[in-house]
Protein backbone atom coordinates (compact mmCIF):
# COMPACT_ATOMS: atom_id res chain seq x y z
CA UNK A 1 0.00 0.00 0.00
CA UNK A 2 3.03 2.25 -0.13
CA UNK A 3 2.00 3.95 -3.36
CA UNK A 4 -0.32 6.19 -1.37
CA UNK A 5 2.44 7.69 0.70
CA UNK A 6 2.49 11.25 -0.44
CA UNK A 7 -0.80 13.02 -0.06
CA UNK A 8 -2.02 15.40 -2.70
CA UNK A 9 -5.39 17.06 -2.97
CA UNK A 10 -5.61 16.65 -6.72
CA UNK A 11 -5.06 12.93 -6.65
CA UNK A 12 -7.45 12.44 -3.80
CA UNK A 13 -9.70 10.52 -6.11
CA UNK A 14 -9.30 6.91 -5.11
CA UNK A 15 -12.80 6.81 -3.71
CA UNK A 16 -14.16 8.82 -6.52
CA UNK A 17 -16.37 7.09 -9.01
CA UNK A 18 -15.58 7.92 -12.61
CA UNK A 19 -17.31 10.98 -13.97
CA UNK A 20 -20.26 10.65 -16.23
CA UNK A 21 -21.63 13.43 -18.35
CA UNK A 22 -25.33 14.18 -18.32
CA UNK A 23 -25.67 12.76 -21.82
CA UNK A 24 -24.10 9.48 -20.72
CA UNK A 25 -26.46 9.32 -17.77
CA UNK A 26 -29.44 9.96 -20.00
CA UNK A 27 -28.30 7.20 -22.35
CA UNK A 28 -27.89 4.75 -19.49
CA UNK A 29 -31.29 5.68 -18.08
CA UNK A 30 -32.97 5.28 -21.47
CA UNK A 31 -31.26 2.01 -22.22
CA UNK A 32 -32.48 0.66 -18.90
CA UNK A 33 -35.97 2.10 -19.20
CA UNK A 34 -38.61 -0.58 -18.77
CA UNK A 35 -41.09 -1.38 -21.54
CA UNK A 36 -43.81 0.47 -19.65
CA UNK A 37 -41.79 3.70 -19.77
CA UNK A 38 -41.15 3.31 -23.50
CA UNK A 39 -44.80 2.59 -24.06
CA UNK A 40 -45.73 5.70 -22.08
CA UNK A 41 -43.30 7.93 -23.92
CA UNK A 42 -44.40 6.71 -27.36
CA UNK A 43 -48.10 7.11 -26.55
CA UNK A 44 -47.52 10.58 -25.14
CA UNK A 45 -45.62 11.51 -28.28
CA UNK A 46 -48.54 10.34 -30.45
CA UNK A 47 -51.03 12.29 -28.34
CA UNK A 48 -49.06 15.50 -28.52
CA UNK A 49 -48.47 15.00 -32.22
CA UNK A 50 -52.22 14.54 -32.76
CA UNK A 51 -52.99 17.56 -30.61
CA UNK A 52 -50.61 19.84 -32.49
CA UNK A 53 -51.43 18.71 -36.01
CA UNK A 54 -55.12 17.94 -35.47
CA UNK A 55 -56.40 19.84 -38.56
CA UNK A 56 -53.91 17.98 -40.78
CA UNK A 57 -54.68 14.53 -39.45
CA UNK A 58 -58.42 14.65 -38.96
CA UNK A 59 -60.34 13.58 -42.08
CA UNK A 60 -63.25 15.94 -41.31
CA UNK A 61 -63.83 19.22 -39.51
CA UNK A 62 -64.40 19.51 -35.77
CA UNK A 63 -67.97 20.78 -36.12
CA UNK A 64 -68.71 19.56 -39.64
CA UNK A 65 -72.18 17.99 -39.71
CA UNK A 66 -73.06 15.10 -41.98
CA UNK A 67 -76.61 14.12 -42.88
CA UNK A 68 -76.63 10.76 -41.11
CA UNK A 69 -76.69 10.85 -37.32
CA UNK A 70 -75.38 7.81 -35.46
CA UNK A 71 -73.89 6.40 -38.64
CA UNK A 72 -72.22 3.01 -38.11
CA UNK A 73 -68.48 2.38 -38.21
CA UNK A 74 -66.64 2.44 -41.52
CA UNK A 75 -68.20 3.85 -44.65
CA UNK A 76 -66.33 7.16 -44.69
CA UNK A 77 -66.52 7.56 -40.95
CA UNK A 78 -64.06 5.30 -39.13
CA UNK A 79 -65.95 5.39 -35.84
CA UNK A 80 -69.27 6.55 -37.30
CA UNK A 81 -71.03 9.81 -36.53
CA UNK A 82 -72.57 11.19 -33.35
CA UNK A 83 -76.07 12.28 -32.43
CA UNK A 84 -76.11 15.25 -34.80
CA UNK A 85 -73.98 13.66 -37.50
CA UNK A 86 -70.41 14.77 -36.71
CA UNK A 87 -67.50 12.47 -37.54
CA UNK A 88 -66.43 10.84 -34.28
CA UNK A 89 -62.88 9.97 -35.31
CA UNK A 90 -62.16 13.57 -36.28
CA UNK A 91 -63.68 14.82 -33.07
CA UNK A 92 -61.52 12.48 -31.03
CA UNK A 93 -58.43 13.99 -32.64
CA UNK A 94 -59.62 17.53 -32.12
CA UNK A 95 -60.52 16.66 -28.55
CA UNK A 96 -56.88 15.75 -27.92
CA UNK A 97 -56.05 19.34 -28.75
CA UNK A 98 -58.81 20.81 -26.56
CA UNK A 99 -58.51 18.54 -23.54
CA UNK A 100 -54.73 18.40 -23.43
CA UNK A 101 -54.41 22.11 -24.17
CA UNK A 102 -56.83 23.23 -21.49
CA UNK A 103 -55.51 20.82 -18.88
CA UNK A 104 -51.90 21.69 -19.63
CA UNK A 105 -52.61 25.40 -19.33
CA UNK A 106 -54.37 24.92 -16.00
CA UNK A 107 -51.50 22.77 -14.72
CA UNK A 108 -48.91 25.35 -15.74
CA UNK A 109 -50.83 28.13 -14.01
CA UNK A 110 -51.05 25.99 -10.89
CA UNK A 111 -47.34 25.16 -11.06
CA UNK A 112 -46.32 28.79 -11.46
CA UNK A 113 -48.45 30.24 -8.69
CA UNK A 114 -47.94 27.38 -6.27
CA UNK A 115 -44.18 27.06 -6.64
CA UNK A 116 -43.31 30.72 -6.30
CA UNK A 117 -45.51 31.17 -3.23
CA UNK A 118 -44.34 27.86 -1.81
CA UNK A 119 -40.67 28.82 -1.94
CA UNK A 120 -41.39 32.29 -0.57
CA UNK A 121 -43.24 30.72 2.35
CA UNK A 122 -40.33 28.34 2.95
CA UNK A 123 -37.86 31.22 2.98
CA UNK A 124 -39.97 33.39 5.24
CA UNK A 125 -41.16 30.89 7.86
CA UNK A 126 -42.95 33.61 9.79
CA UNK A 127 -46.25 35.43 9.37
CA UNK A 128 -46.42 35.15 5.59
CA UNK A 129 -45.81 31.41 5.80
CA UNK A 130 -48.46 31.06 8.48
CA UNK A 131 -50.99 33.07 6.52
CA UNK A 132 -50.40 31.32 3.19
CA UNK A 133 -50.33 27.88 4.78
CA UNK A 134 -53.64 28.47 6.57
CA UNK A 135 -55.32 29.68 3.38
CA UNK A 136 -53.99 26.69 1.48
CA UNK A 137 -55.07 24.28 4.24
CA UNK A 138 -58.58 25.65 4.03
CA UNK A 139 -58.72 25.48 0.25
CA UNK A 140 -57.29 21.97 0.21
CA UNK A 141 -59.83 20.73 2.72
CA UNK A 142 -62.59 21.36 0.21
CA UNK A 143 -62.92 18.80 -2.56
CA UNK A 144 -61.69 20.39 -5.79
CA UNK A 145 -64.37 18.80 -7.94
CA UNK A 146 -67.21 20.15 -5.81
CA UNK A 147 -65.61 23.54 -5.45
CA UNK A 148 -65.02 23.91 -9.18
CA UNK A 149 -68.51 22.70 -9.82
CA UNK A 150 -69.98 25.44 -7.61
CA UNK A 151 -67.73 28.16 -8.96
CA UNK A 152 -68.44 27.22 -12.57
CA UNK A 153 -72.16 27.20 -11.97
CA UNK A 154 -71.82 30.71 -10.56
CA UNK A 155 -69.35 32.31 -12.96
CA UNK A 156 -70.49 30.42 -16.02
CA UNK A 157 -68.84 27.38 -17.57
CA UNK A 158 -66.47 29.02 -20.04
CA UNK A 159 -63.13 27.47 -20.92
CA UNK A 160 -61.35 30.53 -19.56
CA UNK A 161 -63.09 30.26 -16.19
CA UNK A 162 -62.36 26.56 -16.11
CA UNK A 163 -58.62 27.11 -16.62
CA UNK A 164 -58.37 29.94 -14.10
CA UNK A 165 -60.42 28.24 -11.38
CA UNK A 166 -58.60 24.93 -11.64
CA UNK A 167 -55.25 26.68 -11.97
CA UNK A 168 -55.83 28.53 -8.70
CA UNK A 169 -57.36 25.62 -6.79
CA UNK A 170 -54.68 23.19 -7.91
CA UNK A 171 -51.87 25.63 -7.13
CA UNK A 172 -52.47 24.70 -3.48
CA UNK A 173 -50.97 21.26 -4.14
CA UNK A 174 -47.89 22.77 -5.75
CA UNK A 175 -47.66 25.20 -2.86
CA UNK A 176 -47.67 22.35 -0.37
CA UNK A 177 -45.09 20.26 -2.13
CA UNK A 178 -42.74 23.05 -3.13
CA UNK A 179 -42.93 24.51 0.35
CA UNK A 180 -42.17 21.23 2.07
CA UNK A 181 -39.29 20.37 -0.26
CA UNK A 182 -37.94 23.90 -0.17
CA UNK A 183 -38.04 23.97 3.63
CA UNK A 184 -35.57 21.09 3.53
CA UNK A 185 -33.34 23.01 1.12
CA UNK A 186 -33.57 26.40 2.82
CA UNK A 187 -31.92 25.10 5.98
CA UNK A 188 -29.02 23.74 3.96
CA UNK A 189 -25.90 25.80 4.12
CA UNK A 190 -25.71 26.62 0.44
CA UNK A 191 -28.84 28.74 0.73
CA UNK A 192 -27.42 30.38 3.85
CA UNK A 193 -24.24 31.10 1.91
CA UNK A 194 -26.28 32.86 -0.77
CA UNK A 195 -28.18 34.85 1.85
CA UNK A 196 -24.97 35.76 3.62
CA UNK A 197 -23.56 36.94 0.31
CA UNK A 198 -26.50 39.37 0.15
CA UNK A 199 -28.27 37.83 -2.86
CA UNK A 200 -31.82 39.01 -3.53
CA UNK A 201 -34.97 36.92 -3.27
CA UNK A 202 -35.44 36.12 -6.94
CA UNK A 203 -31.84 34.93 -7.33
CA UNK A 204 -32.27 32.63 -4.35
CA UNK A 205 -35.59 31.27 -5.59
CA UNK A 206 -34.77 30.75 -9.25
CA UNK A 207 -31.03 30.10 -9.26
CA UNK A 208 -30.37 28.37 -5.97
CA UNK A 209 -33.51 26.56 -4.81
CA UNK A 210 -35.59 25.83 -7.90
CA UNK A 211 -33.03 23.64 -9.70
CA UNK A 212 -32.80 21.48 -6.58
CA UNK A 213 -36.50 20.91 -6.11
CA UNK A 214 -37.21 20.35 -9.80
CA UNK A 215 -37.55 16.57 -9.59
CA UNK A 216 -40.41 16.39 -7.08
CA UNK A 217 -42.09 19.26 -8.90
CA UNK A 218 -41.89 17.46 -12.23
CA UNK A 219 -43.39 14.36 -10.66
CA UNK A 220 -46.11 16.42 -9.03
CA UNK A 221 -46.72 18.09 -12.38
CA UNK A 222 -47.39 14.72 -13.98
CA UNK A 223 -49.72 13.61 -11.20
CA UNK A 224 -51.58 16.92 -11.07
CA UNK A 225 -51.94 16.90 -14.85
CA UNK A 226 -53.73 13.56 -14.56
CA UNK A 227 -55.87 14.87 -11.73
CA UNK A 228 -56.84 17.95 -13.72
CA UNK A 229 -57.71 15.81 -16.74
CA UNK A 230 -59.93 13.75 -14.44
CA UNK A 231 -61.59 16.76 -12.88
CA UNK A 232 -62.23 18.52 -16.18
CA UNK A 233 -63.46 15.29 -17.73
CA UNK A 234 -65.83 14.64 -14.85
CA UNK A 235 -67.15 18.18 -15.13
CA UNK A 236 -67.51 17.95 -18.90
CA UNK A 237 -69.23 14.64 -18.48
CA UNK A 238 -71.70 16.29 -16.13
CA UNK A 239 -72.15 18.99 -18.78
CA UNK A 240 -70.42 21.86 -17.04
CA UNK A 241 -66.81 21.59 -18.25
CA UNK A 242 -65.46 22.21 -21.73
CA UNK A 243 -68.27 23.77 -23.72
CA UNK A 244 -69.59 22.89 -27.17
CA UNK A 245 -68.85 23.18 -30.02
CA UNK A 246 -65.31 22.36 -28.81
CA UNK A 247 -64.90 18.62 -29.00
CA UNK A 248 -63.82 16.95 -25.82
CA UNK A 249 -63.59 13.31 -24.86
CA UNK A 250 -65.78 13.33 -21.78
CA UNK A 251 -68.64 15.24 -23.44
CA UNK A 252 -68.45 12.80 -26.33
CA UNK A 253 -68.92 9.94 -23.91
CA UNK A 254 -72.04 11.56 -22.52
CA UNK A 255 -73.43 12.50 -25.92
CA UNK A 256 -73.06 8.99 -27.29
CA UNK A 257 -73.77 7.04 -24.10
CA UNK A 258 -77.15 6.01 -25.40
CA UNK A 259 -75.50 3.86 -28.09
CA UNK A 260 -74.29 1.45 -25.44
CA UNK A 261 -77.75 -0.04 -25.24
CA UNK A 262 -77.47 -1.30 -28.80
CA UNK A 263 -74.36 -3.30 -28.07
CA UNK A 264 -76.31 -6.55 -28.33
CA UNK A 265 -77.18 -5.80 -31.94
CA UNK A 266 -73.93 -4.13 -33.00
CA UNK A 267 -70.91 -4.39 -30.75
CA UNK A 268 -69.28 -1.40 -32.46
CA UNK A 269 -72.17 0.79 -31.41
CA UNK A 270 -71.59 -0.25 -27.81
CA UNK A 271 -67.92 0.54 -28.13
CA UNK A 272 -68.37 3.99 -29.66
CA UNK A 273 -68.91 5.90 -26.39
CA UNK A 274 -66.08 3.94 -24.78
CA UNK A 275 -63.46 5.03 -27.30
CA UNK A 276 -63.14 8.65 -26.11
CA UNK A 277 -63.19 7.40 -22.51
CA UNK A 278 -60.44 4.94 -23.35
CA UNK A 279 -58.50 7.81 -24.91
CA UNK A 280 -58.47 9.53 -21.51
CA UNK A 281 -57.50 6.34 -19.72
CA UNK A 282 -54.68 5.59 -22.15
CA UNK A 283 -53.30 9.11 -21.79
CA UNK A 284 -53.36 8.86 -18.00
CA UNK A 285 -51.82 5.39 -17.96
CA UNK A 286 -49.00 6.65 -20.15
CA UNK A 287 -48.33 9.65 -17.94
CA UNK A 288 -48.35 7.35 -14.92
CA UNK A 289 -45.84 5.02 -16.55
CA UNK A 290 -43.47 7.85 -17.37
CA UNK A 291 -43.86 9.42 -13.92
CA UNK A 292 -43.22 6.08 -12.22
CA UNK A 293 -40.06 5.61 -14.23
CA UNK A 294 -38.88 9.14 -13.54
CA UNK A 295 -39.59 8.65 -9.86
CA UNK A 296 -37.56 5.47 -9.93
CA UNK A 297 -34.56 7.16 -11.56
CA UNK A 298 -34.54 10.29 -9.45
CA UNK A 299 -35.34 8.84 -6.05
CA UNK A 300 -32.30 6.58 -6.29
CA UNK A 301 -34.54 4.03 -4.64
CA UNK A 302 -33.25 1.05 -6.53
CA UNK A 303 -35.01 -2.18 -5.89
CA UNK A 304 -33.11 -4.90 -4.12
CA UNK A 305 -30.56 -6.51 -6.36
CA UNK A 306 -30.25 -10.17 -5.65
Amino acid sequence: MSENLSYSAKSEVANLIKRRTRLERLKIALSKAPISAWFGMIVLFIYFFAAIFAPLIAPHGEAEIFPVAYAPWGDGHIFGTDQIGRDIFSRIIYAARNTIGICLLATFIALGIGTVFGIIAALDRRYLDQLLSRIVDTLMAIPVMIFTFILLSVFGPTNFNLIVILGILESTRFFRISRSVAVGQVVLEYVEVARLRGENLSYIIFREILPNIASPLIIEFGLRFIFIIFTISSLSFLGIGIQPPSADWASMVRENAILIQYAQYDITAGLTPLIPAAAIALLCVSINFVVDWYLYITSGLKDDVK
Binding site: A141, I150, F237
Partner: protein
Protein backbone atom coordinates in the same frame (compact mmCIF):
# COMPACT_ATOMS: atom_id res chain seq x y z
CA UNK B 1 -58.36 19.98 19.50
CA UNK B 2 -56.46 22.38 17.32
CA UNK B 3 -57.18 20.26 14.28
CA UNK B 4 -60.83 19.99 15.22
CA UNK B 5 -61.20 23.74 15.40
CA UNK B 6 -59.26 24.08 12.16
CA UNK B 7 -61.73 21.72 10.55
CA UNK B 8 -64.65 23.79 11.82
CA UNK B 9 -63.00 26.93 10.51
CA UNK B 10 -62.63 25.25 7.14
CA UNK B 11 -66.27 24.29 6.90
CA UNK B 12 -67.22 27.76 8.06
CA UNK B 13 -64.95 29.35 5.46
CA UNK B 14 -66.41 27.17 2.77
CA UNK B 15 -69.95 28.13 3.79
CA UNK B 16 -68.97 31.78 3.43
CA UNK B 17 -67.46 31.09 0.04
CA UNK B 18 -70.48 29.16 -1.16
CA UNK B 19 -72.84 31.79 0.09
CA UNK B 20 -70.93 34.77 -1.21
CA UNK B 21 -70.30 33.29 -4.65
CA UNK B 22 -74.02 32.92 -5.11
CA UNK B 23 -74.45 36.59 -4.33
CA UNK B 24 -72.31 37.35 -7.38
CA UNK B 25 -74.66 35.45 -9.59
CA UNK B 26 -75.71 37.55 -12.51
CA UNK B 27 -79.38 38.28 -12.55
CA UNK B 28 -81.85 38.17 -9.77
CA UNK B 29 -83.37 35.03 -8.38
CA UNK B 30 -86.68 36.67 -7.87
CA UNK B 31 -86.84 37.70 -11.51
CA UNK B 32 -85.64 34.33 -12.56
CA UNK B 33 -88.28 32.50 -10.57
CA UNK B 34 -91.14 34.69 -11.60
CA UNK B 35 -90.05 35.04 -15.21
CA UNK B 36 -89.25 38.18 -17.19
CA UNK B 37 -92.90 39.20 -17.46
CA UNK B 38 -93.49 39.59 -13.74
CA UNK B 39 -94.54 42.96 -12.40
CA UNK B 40 -92.14 45.04 -10.34
CA UNK B 41 -94.26 44.78 -7.21
CA UNK B 42 -94.44 41.00 -7.47
CA UNK B 43 -90.65 40.79 -7.76
CA UNK B 44 -90.28 43.05 -4.77
CA UNK B 45 -92.68 41.00 -2.70
CA UNK B 46 -90.82 37.80 -3.52
CA UNK B 47 -87.50 39.42 -2.77
CA UNK B 48 -88.80 40.39 0.64
CA UNK B 49 -90.17 36.92 1.21
CA UNK B 50 -86.85 35.30 0.28
CA UNK B 51 -84.95 37.90 2.27
CA UNK B 52 -83.03 38.99 -0.81
CA UNK B 53 -83.54 42.66 0.06
CA UNK B 54 -81.49 42.39 3.22
CA UNK B 55 -77.72 43.08 3.19
CA UNK B 56 -75.60 40.01 2.34
CA UNK B 57 -74.01 39.66 5.77
CA UNK B 58 -77.37 39.54 7.52
CA UNK B 59 -78.61 37.06 4.95
CA UNK B 60 -75.57 34.91 5.49
CA UNK B 61 -76.04 34.74 9.24
CA UNK B 62 -79.77 34.12 8.90
CA UNK B 63 -78.97 31.26 6.56
CA UNK B 64 -76.20 29.89 8.79
CA UNK B 65 -78.46 30.08 11.85
CA UNK B 66 -81.10 28.12 10.04
CA UNK B 67 -78.58 25.55 8.81
CA UNK B 68 -77.61 24.90 12.40
CA UNK B 69 -81.22 24.15 13.16
CA UNK B 70 -81.27 21.73 10.28
CA UNK B 71 -83.21 24.13 8.10
CA UNK B 72 -81.66 24.64 4.70
CA UNK B 73 -84.56 26.78 3.52
CA UNK B 74 -86.95 25.77 0.82
CA UNK B 75 -86.20 24.76 -2.70
CA UNK B 76 -86.81 27.25 -5.51
CA UNK B 77 -88.07 24.69 -7.92
CA UNK B 78 -91.70 23.81 -7.73
CA UNK B 79 -92.48 27.31 -6.50
CA UNK B 80 -95.47 28.63 -8.29
CA UNK B 81 -94.77 31.20 -10.94
CA UNK B 82 -98.32 32.44 -10.94
CA UNK B 83 -98.78 35.40 -8.71
CA UNK B 84 -101.36 34.94 -6.03
CA UNK B 85 -101.39 31.16 -6.33
CA UNK B 86 -102.01 30.08 -2.79
CA UNK B 87 -100.87 26.46 -3.24
CA UNK B 88 -97.12 26.82 -2.72
CA UNK B 89 -95.64 23.55 -3.94
CA UNK B 90 -92.01 24.28 -3.09
CA UNK B 91 -90.48 21.67 -0.87
CA UNK B 92 -88.32 22.02 2.17
CA UNK B 93 -84.66 21.36 1.21
CA UNK B 94 -84.20 19.06 4.17
CA UNK B 95 -87.07 16.89 3.10
CA UNK B 96 -85.49 16.73 -0.33
CA UNK B 97 -82.00 15.93 0.87
CA UNK B 98 -82.42 13.39 3.66
CA UNK B 99 -83.61 10.43 1.54
CA UNK B 100 -80.96 11.19 -1.09
CA UNK B 101 -78.27 11.37 1.57
CA UNK B 102 -79.37 7.97 2.84
CA UNK B 103 -79.07 6.59 -0.69
CA UNK B 104 -75.58 7.98 -1.15
CA UNK B 105 -74.46 6.68 2.23
CA UNK B 106 -75.83 3.25 1.33
CA UNK B 107 -73.97 3.24 -1.97
CA UNK B 108 -70.61 4.43 -0.64
CA UNK B 109 -70.95 2.32 2.51
CA UNK B 110 -71.38 -0.90 0.57
CA UNK B 111 -68.57 0.03 -1.82
CA UNK B 112 -66.29 0.86 1.13
CA UNK B 113 -67.01 -2.47 2.79
CA UNK B 114 -65.89 -4.20 -0.37
CA UNK B 115 -62.99 -1.95 -1.25
CA UNK B 116 -61.27 -1.58 2.14
CA UNK B 117 -60.58 -5.23 2.99
CA UNK B 118 -59.78 -6.13 -0.60
CA UNK B 119 -57.30 -3.36 -1.16
CA UNK B 120 -55.62 -3.81 2.22
CA UNK B 121 -55.05 -7.48 1.54
CA UNK B 122 -53.81 -6.78 -1.98
CA UNK B 123 -51.60 -3.86 -0.89
CA UNK B 124 -49.99 -5.60 2.07
CA UNK B 125 -49.33 -8.81 0.17
CA UNK B 126 -47.89 -6.90 -2.78
CA UNK B 127 -45.52 -5.10 -0.41
CA UNK B 128 -44.43 -8.33 1.23
CA UNK B 129 -43.81 -10.09 -2.07
CA UNK B 130 -42.26 -7.04 -3.59
CA UNK B 131 -41.07 -7.37 -7.18
CA UNK B 132 -42.66 -10.78 -7.57
CA UNK B 133 -44.85 -11.41 -10.60
CA UNK B 134 -47.84 -11.09 -8.31
CA UNK B 135 -46.71 -7.66 -7.14
CA UNK B 136 -45.92 -6.48 -10.64
CA UNK B 137 -49.24 -7.56 -12.07
CA UNK B 138 -51.21 -6.18 -9.12
CA UNK B 139 -49.51 -2.79 -9.33
CA UNK B 140 -49.84 -2.83 -13.12
CA UNK B 141 -53.57 -3.49 -13.03
CA UNK B 142 -54.08 -0.92 -10.29
CA UNK B 143 -52.25 1.64 -12.41
CA UNK B 144 -54.77 1.10 -15.18
CA UNK B 145 -57.73 1.44 -12.80
CA UNK B 146 -56.43 4.65 -11.24
CA UNK B 147 -55.84 6.05 -14.72
CA UNK B 148 -59.41 5.42 -15.85
CA UNK B 149 -62.04 8.10 -15.31
CA UNK B 150 -65.07 6.99 -13.27
CA UNK B 151 -67.43 7.04 -16.25
CA UNK B 152 -65.09 4.82 -18.27
CA UNK B 153 -65.17 2.14 -15.59
CA UNK B 154 -68.90 2.62 -15.19
CA UNK B 155 -69.68 2.24 -18.89
CA UNK B 156 -67.48 -0.81 -19.21
CA UNK B 157 -69.52 -2.43 -16.46
CA UNK B 158 -72.71 -1.38 -18.21
CA UNK B 159 -71.51 -2.73 -21.52
CA UNK B 160 -70.45 -6.05 -20.06
CA UNK B 161 -72.93 -6.74 -17.29
CA UNK B 162 -76.02 -4.84 -18.41
CA UNK B 163 -76.20 -4.92 -22.19
CA UNK B 164 -74.05 -7.78 -23.52
CA UNK B 165 -74.84 -10.04 -20.58
CA UNK B 166 -77.88 -8.47 -18.95
CA UNK B 167 -77.26 -9.49 -15.36
CA UNK B 168 -77.78 -6.17 -13.65
CA UNK B 169 -79.95 -3.16 -14.46
CA UNK B 170 -78.46 -0.07 -16.13
CA UNK B 171 -80.54 2.34 -14.12
CA UNK B 172 -80.27 2.10 -10.37
CA UNK B 173 -83.65 3.44 -9.38
CA UNK B 174 -84.50 2.71 -5.78
CA UNK B 175 -87.17 4.22 -3.59
CA UNK B 176 -88.47 4.00 -0.04
CA UNK B 177 -90.35 0.84 -0.88
CA UNK B 178 -87.34 -1.10 -2.19
CA UNK B 179 -86.31 -4.07 -0.11
CA UNK B 180 -82.70 -4.53 0.94
CA UNK B 181 -82.09 -7.34 -1.54
CA UNK B 182 -83.58 -5.22 -4.27
CA UNK B 183 -81.31 -2.37 -3.30
CA UNK B 184 -78.23 -4.56 -3.49
CA UNK B 185 -79.27 -5.86 -6.87
CA UNK B 186 -80.06 -2.47 -8.33
CA UNK B 187 -76.94 -0.78 -6.98
CA UNK B 188 -74.56 -3.59 -7.93
CA UNK B 189 -72.99 -1.79 -10.88
CA UNK B 190 -72.43 1.59 -9.19
CA UNK B 191 -71.00 -0.26 -6.19
CA UNK B 192 -68.61 -2.21 -8.42
CA UNK B 193 -67.54 0.98 -10.16
CA UNK B 194 -66.86 2.86 -6.93
CA UNK B 195 -65.05 -0.13 -5.46
CA UNK B 196 -62.79 -0.49 -8.46
CA UNK B 197 -61.86 3.17 -8.74
CA UNK B 198 -60.91 3.50 -5.08
CA UNK B 199 -59.27 0.10 -4.78
CA UNK B 200 -56.44 1.05 -7.11
CA UNK B 201 -55.48 4.09 -5.07
CA UNK B 202 -55.96 2.39 -1.75
CA UNK B 203 -53.94 -0.63 -2.74
CA UNK B 204 -51.06 1.42 -4.10
CA UNK B 205 -50.96 3.69 -1.08
CA UNK B 206 -51.07 0.75 1.33
CA UNK B 207 -48.28 -0.94 -0.57
CA UNK B 208 -45.98 2.05 -0.45
CA UNK B 209 -46.75 2.70 3.23
CA UNK B 210 -45.75 -0.86 4.10
CA UNK B 211 -42.63 -0.77 1.91
CA UNK B 212 -41.65 2.47 3.59
CA UNK B 213 -41.82 0.80 6.98
CA UNK B 214 -40.04 -2.35 5.81
CA UNK B 215 -37.06 -0.31 4.65
CA UNK B 216 -36.54 1.41 8.00
CA UNK B 217 -33.50 0.69 10.14
CA UNK B 218 -35.36 -0.97 12.97
CA UNK B 219 -36.61 -3.60 10.56
CA UNK B 220 -33.04 -4.37 9.48
CA UNK B 221 -32.16 -4.53 13.15
CA UNK B 222 -35.02 -6.92 13.83
CA UNK B 223 -33.84 -9.16 11.00
CA UNK B 224 -30.31 -9.06 12.36
CA UNK B 225 -31.59 -10.12 15.75
CA UNK B 226 -32.96 -13.25 14.15
CA UNK B 227 -36.64 -12.43 13.97
CA UNK B 228 -38.56 -14.67 11.59
CA UNK B 229 -40.36 -13.28 8.59
CA UNK B 230 -43.67 -13.60 10.39
CA UNK B 231 -42.32 -11.87 13.48
CA UNK B 232 -40.82 -9.01 11.48
CA UNK B 233 -44.15 -8.36 9.85
CA UNK B 234 -46.56 -8.89 12.73
CA UNK B 235 -44.52 -7.58 15.65
CA UNK B 236 -42.31 -4.98 14.08
CA UNK B 237 -43.95 -3.63 10.94
CA UNK B 238 -47.67 -3.82 11.70
CA UNK B 239 -47.82 -1.73 14.91
CA UNK B 240 -46.18 1.07 12.97
CA UNK B 241 -48.43 0.58 9.96
CA UNK B 242 -51.83 1.30 11.52
CA UNK B 243 -51.44 5.04 11.31
CA UNK B 244 -50.52 5.24 7.64
CA UNK B 245 -53.09 2.59 6.72
CA UNK B 246 -55.96 4.30 8.46
CA UNK B 247 -54.95 7.53 6.82
CA UNK B 248 -55.01 5.78 3.48
CA UNK B 249 -58.53 4.53 4.21
CA UNK B 250 -59.87 7.90 5.27
CA UNK B 251 -58.33 9.67 2.28
CA UNK B 252 -59.84 7.13 -0.09
CA UNK B 253 -63.28 7.29 1.49
CA UNK B 254 -63.21 11.02 0.84
CA UNK B 255 -62.13 10.29 -2.71
CA UNK B 256 -64.95 7.77 -3.10
CA UNK B 257 -67.48 10.32 -1.92
CA UNK B 258 -66.47 12.71 -4.70
CA UNK B 259 -66.42 9.89 -7.25
CA UNK B 260 -70.00 9.08 -6.31
CA UNK B 261 -71.18 12.30 -7.99
CA UNK B 262 -70.25 11.02 -11.44
CA UNK B 263 -71.27 7.44 -10.72
CA UNK B 264 -74.71 8.50 -9.51
CA UNK B 265 -75.13 10.54 -12.65
CA UNK B 266 -74.22 7.62 -14.91
CA UNK B 267 -76.60 5.20 -13.22
CA UNK B 268 -79.20 7.85 -12.55
CA UNK B 269 -79.09 6.86 -8.89
CA UNK B 270 -81.11 9.19 -6.70
CA UNK B 271 -78.27 10.19 -4.39
CA UNK B 272 -77.07 13.53 -3.22
CA UNK B 273 -74.57 13.96 -6.06
CA UNK B 274 -77.28 13.45 -8.65
CA UNK B 275 -79.45 15.93 -6.77
CA UNK B 276 -76.70 18.54 -6.78
CA UNK B 277 -76.02 18.21 -10.51
CA UNK B 278 -79.74 18.41 -11.25
CA UNK B 279 -80.14 21.45 -9.04
CA UNK B 280 -77.35 23.28 -10.81
CA UNK B 281 -79.17 22.76 -14.10
CA UNK B 282 -82.34 24.14 -12.50
CA UNK B 283 -80.42 26.94 -10.75
CA UNK B 284 -81.94 25.78 -7.49
CA UNK B 285 -79.71 27.77 -5.17
CA UNK B 286 -80.61 26.47 -1.68
CA UNK B 287 -80.33 22.84 -2.73
CA UNK B 288 -76.90 23.32 -4.33
CA UNK B 289 -75.69 25.18 -1.24
CA UNK B 290 -76.87 22.41 1.03
CA UNK B 291 -75.42 19.60 -1.08
CA UNK B 292 -72.04 21.31 -1.46
CA UNK B 293 -71.92 21.97 2.25
CA UNK B 294 -72.67 18.34 3.04
CA UNK B 295 -69.97 17.12 0.66
CA UNK B 296 -67.42 19.54 2.03
CA UNK B 297 -68.14 18.76 5.68
CA UNK B 298 -68.02 15.00 5.14
CA UNK B 299 -64.75 15.42 3.30
CA UNK B 300 -63.32 17.57 6.07
CA UNK B 301 -64.49 15.14 8.75
CA UNK B 302 -62.93 12.17 6.97
CA UNK B 303 -59.62 13.95 6.64
CA UNK B 304 -59.86 14.99 10.27
CA UNK B 305 -60.39 11.39 11.33
CA UNK B 306 -57.31 10.42 9.33
CA UNK B 307 -55.25 13.01 11.18
CA UNK B 308 -56.61 11.96 14.55
CA UNK B 309 -55.79 8.30 13.95
CA UNK B 310 -52.30 9.36 12.96
CA UNK B 311 -51.92 11.14 16.30
CA UNK B 312 -53.46 8.45 18.47
CA UNK B 313 -51.36 5.62 17.09
CA UNK B 314 -48.06 7.46 17.55
CA UNK B 315 -46.42 6.55 20.89
CA UNK B 316 -44.35 9.73 20.65
CA UNK B 317 -47.51 11.72 21.17
CA UNK B 318 -49.22 9.29 23.49
CA UNK B 319 -46.30 9.02 25.90
CA UNK B 320 -44.53 12.36 25.97
CA UNK B 321 -41.03 12.64 27.39
Amino acid sequence: MLRLSLGLVTVFAFSVIIFSTFSFLPGDFATEILGQSATKSAVKALRAELGLDKPPVTRYFDWLGNVFQGDFGSSFSGRSKVQGDQGDRSREVVGLIVPRLKNTLFLTGVAAMLAIPLSLILGISAALYRNSYYDRSATGVSLVTVSSPEFFTAYIFILLLATLFPVFPTISNVDEASTLAERFYRTALPVFTLTLITMGHMMRMTRSAIINILSSEYIEMAKLSGASRYEVIVKHALPNAWAPISQVIAINLAYMLIGSVVVEYVFNYQGIGRLMVGSVYNRDLPVVQACALIFASTYVILNLIADLIGIISNPRLLYPK
